[in-house]
Symmetry: C2
DNA sequence: CTGAAAGCGCTTACAG
DNA sequence: CTGAAAGCGCTTACAG
């Protein structure tokens, strides 16, 4: 039987691989002799169409390679099924783990994730979040804190939920799933204090446009500086690279001889510190106790397994994604989710040598 | 002046933060007293609108928070400005670097990137690539080889370019930007052979559904098995984790005493091997020479800097993205791009001890 | 330079 | 269960 119609070039046979105009519901309607409504319903509400006809449509769709135009659907349904994800960088295990978690549940639920990495600069985060909203994202996940009022009201006015991960911040402008940043850092610092350390150095990322690191610093202070005997002698904002860890410990060795412990905001920094000490023949933890943060794979598998805080990265991503899906599909309101970190004590922390004097 | 019209509720004042229907060109036309055509042109072709009117429109747009509906634009213009990226995993430095490169140029050029991670299974890659095409991706970048004829003709019939990264494969079904996989591995193996090694072990990822690793294996064979004196005694397909590297070297120590060199397809595996040897007090490179692949950050910064092949990950991503943009914007055909790897010899390879006997 | 109008491809309320 | 028709919001060829 000849299904082609002289008026319609879309369903003409073409050479394999030759571009042709994609066929539409209308074409499929002509081919099957049914109405566009029935064809459309075959995909959007199959149980509402008689099995016989449904089969016809499906068969023709298969044969002619029909698939509904997503832009038209998006316009009509007001649903893009796109969700934006903002990350400081992909090139750090923690965030990679987070996005893996996010992507898994979102793909499963039939969404697509669009990503942007923004560095540690909240202004860029705001800009990209806006761009995502303008380009049709139905929801946004942001790794790291965010406190822009304008963005908040813009998003609210468009009913686009945004959820932050990493920090648990029940008082914040946006919903959050994460842990208590300050508390986690405080716990690490307390561990160091209890070990007898009195002079601490702290290594973290930029605080200026990223309150994440500011929170960590606050926590380190809170947990360590219990009295005037316990001081943070050195605070440095740097990048999360091994090389930076190495440089920083060099500076500490040179300029702050009283320091006996180094607390960092990232395992990568801590690994740099430990590595450099090894190379210099400086014993860890005997001379320096050092702590990481995040518990990346390497933390437990390096030559000197690292004392660090375990952050449930993938889980944060999954929870955030699940909340969003639940809101989008079922209208369930988005709340704050609090997860726990765990201080894991391994080999890089020990009693302060200065204490033995 | 009262800009609201009783017939149109969209431009009524609302409480800050209260959701309201987004305003459309039509609303802006009513507000300004111009036609929708003029309003639309203000955004799509500003130079075609008299400056005076343009100002009016822009001002009103600003005031009422107008932005063009992206779904409507996509439908009308047949452009989604979305580009799909398929990766085995985000959780490996090489791929993270690649996507960072991709995302940078694509965002710059005004595109959004949608991502999916697929593991090392080409069937899943094919499935996700299809899904991306169905959902409106204008182009696709796939990290790793791909050879599915059906996918190829599907994409061709819809004029969706796909470009693979990692391997340079001028004969392949899809355009590629990458390096000569076989050659790079061969170079490593040759280095080991020249060092006097005769019995090699090879560690790589799954070959079954991923020709990437098959190519590497082929290269190792080609570079090493020059005669019957030089054999690969052990080949294992495993995961890219430190733990797997450790397990594998344990197995080699136990079952293949003749092996004096271990070539891996990933720095992470190599680091596992080296680490395990350190723990066991086995000297590297004296007892085992070991090579990595990729030259991740840690390769040069670990205690024992790794002999490895440097892969230009970010550059591959950038080149691929640039090609695509150039095709999409200017219709410039997409070719194959060949990049070079570089064998970097550090501390984990040396003469075979067996040779000194 | 400006506007009225067609149309991108889809879904669904409505009537049958 | 099925179909004719309206409409999602935009852009642009066409006529003025």
């Amino acid at each position: 039987m000849d299904r082609t119609s002289p008026k319609n070039e879309r369903n003409k046979a073409t050479l394999v691989g030759e571009p042709r105009k994609p066929i539409r519901v209308k074409d499929l309607a002509e081919i099957t002799g049914l109405s566009v409504a029935t064809v459309s319903r075959t995909f959007s509400k199959p149980e509402a169409v008689r099995p016989k006809l449904r089969q016809m449509v499906l068969k023709a769709a298969e044969e002619f390679g029909y698939y509904p135009n997503p832009s038209a659907q998006a316009l009509r349904l007001r649903r893009t099924r796109m969700i934006g994800v903002l990350l400081p960088t992909l090139n750090y295990s923690l965030y990679a783990g987070m996005i893996d978690g996010i992507e898994g549940v979102l793909t499963e639920a039939g969404y697509f994730v669009i990503i942007n990495s923004t560095g540690f600069d909240e202004r860029k985060v705001v800009e990209r979040a806006r761009a995502m909203a303008d380009r049709g994202a139905e929801a946004i996940i942001c790794a790291g804190p965010l406190s822009d009022r304008d963005l908040s009201s813009l998003l609210k006015s468009r009913s686009i939920p945004l959820i932050t991960t990493y920090n648990y911040e029940p008082e914040a402008l946006f919903a959050s799933v994460g842990f208590d940043n300050v508390e986690a850092a405080s716990q690490v610092a307390k561990h160091l204090r209890l070990l007898g350390h009195r002079n601490l150095a702290v290594l973290l990322g930029p605080t200026e446009y990223h309150t994440l690191h500011a929170g960590l610093l606050e926590g380190f202070r809170k947990g360590f500086e219990s009295d005037s005997e316990h001081r943070i002698l050195y605070v440095s904002e740097t990048d999360y690279t091994i090389a930076c860890g190495e440089e920083e410990i060099d500076a500490i060795i040179r300029d702050y001889p009283a320091v006996t412990a180094v607390a960092t905001a990232s395992d990568v920094l801590a690994i740099g510190v430990v590595l450099r000490c090894s190379k210099l023949g400086i014993p860890v933890p005997e001379r320096y106790s050092v702590t990481g943060f995040d518990d990346i794979d390497l933390a437990s598998h390096s030559m000197k397994p690292l004392t660090t805080s375990r952050i449930p990265a993938a889980q944060m991503g999954e929870e955030a994604a699940r909340s969003l899906v639940d809101y989008l599909e079922n209208g369930r309101p988005i709340g704050h989710v609090r997860l726990e970190t765990r201080l894991v004590i391994r080999t890089t922390t020990g009693p302060a040598y200065a204490n033995c004097e």
